[in-house]
């Protein structure tokens, strides 16, 4: 099984914005053009972006700009002509995502990536791909890849209210949709939907979403003896293991040094057993604000 895809082809480059539009309540789809030899990227990996101009042109802070890049999962990768086109799905929650929302087509964004570990694809298993809220992003890429390779999967997508659903296009067929408030699909959470998943599915579970959801999915999978992989988030400094900022409480290591894993280098995709869910919950981390 593939466990890590990091470090091979990470570059920084200026990407041109092809499109940037709202697709659901507080969810935006950004399409970016990159050089044809960018990557290769795989589902699960992320890019770390900044809308700031080159440093020689502007001292950060002077215009209230941002200092660090912000990480986003790849929601899709394709090729158009002699360019690589990547897609990001983002929610507006703070300084940089607010800035991103205002970027028009043809504007530029500096992109570092692709970085991080990948979702392993097991051709023998009917996998369950579980996304909560904006956590659907990396699973759209994974689902598209599975579909292209004609590998069986069931997509499970939960939101709080129906207006938050990103359009799924051809991936909508067979998908299990839930809204917590009953405004569409099944009333309830992704766990309720998982109970209705096809009997042959589940041997591999891939999930991304808020902490509470990930923990619940991990428990659900564990109780059934399924392998569960989760894509985790923590505040990033660099995204390339220079700073050690994105620590997540870990289990099963064999020494003091193994008490934390780094979301950027050991993840974002990790086996759910490696995470100390309770310690992480108590730290109150990993639950980004809902946004406006």
């Amino acid at each position: 099984m593939i466990e890590t895809g990091q470090g091979d082809h990470i570059t920084t480059c200026r990407a041109e914005i092809l499109g940037n539009r709202q697709v659901a309540r507080n969810l935006f789809r950004l399409r970016l053009a990159l050089p044809s030899d960018w990557g290769p990227a795989e589902p699960g990996q992320f890019v770390n972006v900044t809308p700031e101009p080159a440093w020689e042109e502007n001292v950060p802070g002077d215009a209230g700009g941002s200092l660090l890049r912000r990480p986003f999962s790849l929601a899709g990768v394709g090729h158009e002509g002699n360019r690589t086109v990547i897609e990001i799905l983002y929610a507006v929650v703070g300084k940089v995502t607010r800035q991103m929302q205002r970027l028009p087509p043809r504007a530029h964004l500096d992109v570092l990536g692709p970085a991080g570990t990948v979702f392993p694809i097991d051709p023998g298993a009917h996998s369950l791909l579980v996304g909560g809220g904006r956590g659907i992003a990396p699973l759209l890429y994974l689902a598209a890849e599975q579909r292209r390779r004609k590998l069986p999967f069931t997509l499970v997508y939960g939101v709080r209210t129906a207006e938050e659903w990103a359009p799924l296009g051809p991936l909508a067929r067979g998908a299990l949709l839930t809204a917590e408030d009953g405004s569409g699909g099944l009333r309830g959470t992704v766990i309720d939907a998982l109970e209705q998943a096809p009997a042959e599915s589940g041997a591999a579970v891939m999930a991304c979403g808020p902490h509470g959801m990930l923990h619940a999915v991990a428990k659900w999978a564990h109780e059934r003896g399924h392998t569960c992989w989760v894509s985790v988030e923590e505040v990033f400094g660099c995204g390339v293991a220079l700073c050690g900022g994105c620590a997540i409480p870990a289990r099963g290591g064999d020494g003091e040094y193994d008490r934390y894993l780094w979301a950027c280098r050991d993840g974002p995709v990790v086996r759910s057993e490696r995470i100390d869910w309770e310690a992480w919950r108590q730290l109150g981390a990993a639950t980004p604000p809902a946004g406006p």
Partner: protein, 314 residues
């Protein structure tokens, strides 16, 4: 006279017995151990590589969140997560030697004896120099030795007895009189001073009504601290005879020139690497261009040539 190309500018500097091909280094803890994706970081272009701080025993580091971006700055509370000196010396250090630049190992400890024992271990392996991190604000056990001249002196004295390698003491800016601490280090045999480590800072999450960092305070770095760091570097450079390595908020070659003019013999790039992993390489290239534009052939002639207004009383 113009007409010569930027390439000809001699950027070499010496830090006591240590000669560097250029004055730009990575700052400890902002560049991994140094071998993280060498293509991306362009580590080969650096004058020297400073590792993240290594301690006698492995350390887990602090609970998350460990970072918080502030205006033009970054608060961190990493807590010196590292593999420990034994594993470092055995498995990591040999790899760093192949990267090119001289390797300066940053050492931390909870007691003066910890530093001495690390120095002993490092004396048996290959490395260019030791940087003593006596200024980390993010650990419980009094690692900020450089808050007191006597404590700082004790650490340097212990290490000096164990190694002939150049020793650089990295100072905390969280003191009233940084020159007193620097002087104490030099008197005990430090070959140079690194100034500065991060400034103590804090951020509050107003919605949750709690500190953003679980340990409440952290270390502030990035462009926000550049004028503060520059001022400490200038004070040290004009009061003490030893080389001073300037660090704090440096992003561009122009920023580096500020420190070099103020008397820094070399500079380190920290937080800027997080946005651009190859920032150090960019600063090296930028220094060549800027010095050439100024008609400077040798960086050595430029260091410390700050022109003070006549009213400045020393």
């Amino acid at each position: 006279m113009s007409g010569h190309t930027a390439r000809e500018v001699d950027l070499s500097v010496d830090l006591g017995s240590l000669e560097l091909s250029n004055p730009v280094m990575s700052a400890s803890g902002t560049f991994g151990y140094g071998d993280e994706d060498p293509e991306l970081t362009q580590v080969r272009a650096l004058g020297a590589l400073v590792t993240k701080t290594v301690t006698l025993n492995p350390r887990a580091g602090n609970p998350p969140p460990r970072l918080c971006e502030t205006p033009a700055g970054l608060l961190n509370s990493i807590g010196l997560q590292n593999v420990g000196i034994q594993t470092f010396a055995r498995e990591i250090l040999p790899r760093l030697q192949d990267l090119g630049p001289p390797v300066i190992v940053s050492v931390g400890g909870s007691t003066a004896d910890d530093y001495a024992r690390c120095a002993e271990i490092l004396d048996r392996v290959e490395c260019a120099a030791l940087e003593l991190n006596i200024s980390c604000p993010n650990v419980a056990s009094g690692l900020e030795f450089s808050r007191s001249p006597a404590e700082a002196a004790k650490v340097v004295r212990g290490v000096r007895r164990r190694t002939k390698r150049p020793i650089f003491a990295k100072l905390s800016p969280n003191v009233t009189d940084i020159v007193a601490v620097g002087r104490a280090c030099v008197e005990e045999g430090a070959d140079g001073l690194v100034a500065v480590n991060t400034f103590l800072g804090m951020a509050v999450d107003v919605e949750r009504e709690q500190p953003v960092l679980p340990r409440v305070v952290g270390g502030l770095s990035g462009p926000a601290i550049r004028p503060l760091a520059l001022c400490r570097v200038w004070e040290l450079a004009r009061c003490l005879p030893c080389p001073v390595i300037g660090v704090g908020g440096i992003v561009t070659a122009r920023d580096a020139l500020e420190f070099l003019l103020a008397g820094a013999r070399a500079v380190q790039i920290g937080t800027a690497n997080f946005r651009e992993p190859a920032r150090g390489a960019k600063v090296v290239a930028g220094l060549r261009t800027l010095l050439d534009e100024k008609g400077v052939n040798r960086l050595r002639d430029f260091v410390g040539r700050l022109r003070l207004p006549p009213t400045e009383v020393s």
